[in-house]
Symmetry: C2
Subunit: 152 residues, 2 copies
DNA sequence: GTTGAAACCGTACGGGC
DNA sequence: GCCCGTACGGTTTCAAC
């Protein structure tokens, strides 16, 4: 796949659409100085190239019943075994993110659950599904998250 | 602020729109069995109630030049001082999320930067801005993230 | 990239349950 | 209260340039 670099207008469009996924082509055109059609062609290119991987509504976790979140670091019980923890854990919808990390643990998960009781059950499920030890850090308060990551 | 609970249709709409922030009212109507007007009224209610806090395009960090991410735990140097680290750090755009946490550290940050060099500079900025110690865990690979968090 | 025209969509309003 | 149908203006789409 080719990789003609993003120019300033692309970055500008990405910044706007990252902040407002429903921005109209007309607004994007106004903010970039291009015509509506030119903007549309660029957006389609950005989607095709994988620069834009999707669009989502941001949902308040509290309102939909998952007010408790936590970081869970996991480490395989047997380092000799093949390690495919991400695949083994993918089916658990409470796991919002899964990163492999440098440091003592092998992976860092970010999870959302309804209650401490559900967190306990989830940790049990994770340990069992992936044969890992866990180290859980409960989130007390979230000051901000989901901030758009398109550098100026 | 009232809080009439979300019914099954609301949750269904949230699930669809969380996965596809550009889903049309027509599609939401088809998937929920309601008319376009009814769906529109519900979406507006969900936005007004704060169940939907916004819409965004998901941008590939690699493509926009921030391929390196990390978790940074921070702890105030002087526990006696008033602790307003989140406000002191808000101006740093590389910080994508800031949570206060239970455990040894006070806050967990998630950051994105272009290079190890930039990570070093960011850590220095954080220490200086908020008068904190830091403990950084570099992300080696992200298997998944941004998974929609609307429970079934 | 641009223009323009047609199809589609979001919105407001009227009405019925 | 919640829902449906319709009409209008804005938006997306795609051809031709």
């Amino acid at each position: 796949m080719p990789a003609s670099a993003l120019d300033d207008i692309d970055l500008r469009l990405l910044r706007v659409v990252a902040a407002d996924g429903r921005a109209t082509l007309a607004r994007l055109a106004a903010e970039s100085g291009l015509s509506v059609s030119a903007v549309q062609a660029r957006i389609k290119r950005l989607e095709a190239r994988g620069a834009i991987t999707g669009y989502r509504a941001v949902v308040d976790p509290d309102v939909v019943g998952v007010p408790l979140s936590a970081f869970i670091e996991i480490t395989p019980l047997d380092p000799a075994q093949p390690d495919n923890a991400p695949e083994l854990l993918e089916h658990l919808p409470q796991i919002e993110a899964c990163h492999s990390i440098a440091g003592q643990a092998a992976y860092m998960l970010f999870v959302r659950v309804a209650s401490p009781r559900d967190l306990e059950a989830l940790i049990r499920d994770i340990r069992q599904a992936a044969a890992v030890n866990t180290r859980t850090t409960v989130v007390l308060q979230t000051f901000f998250e989901n901030r758009a990551a398109v550098p100026r």
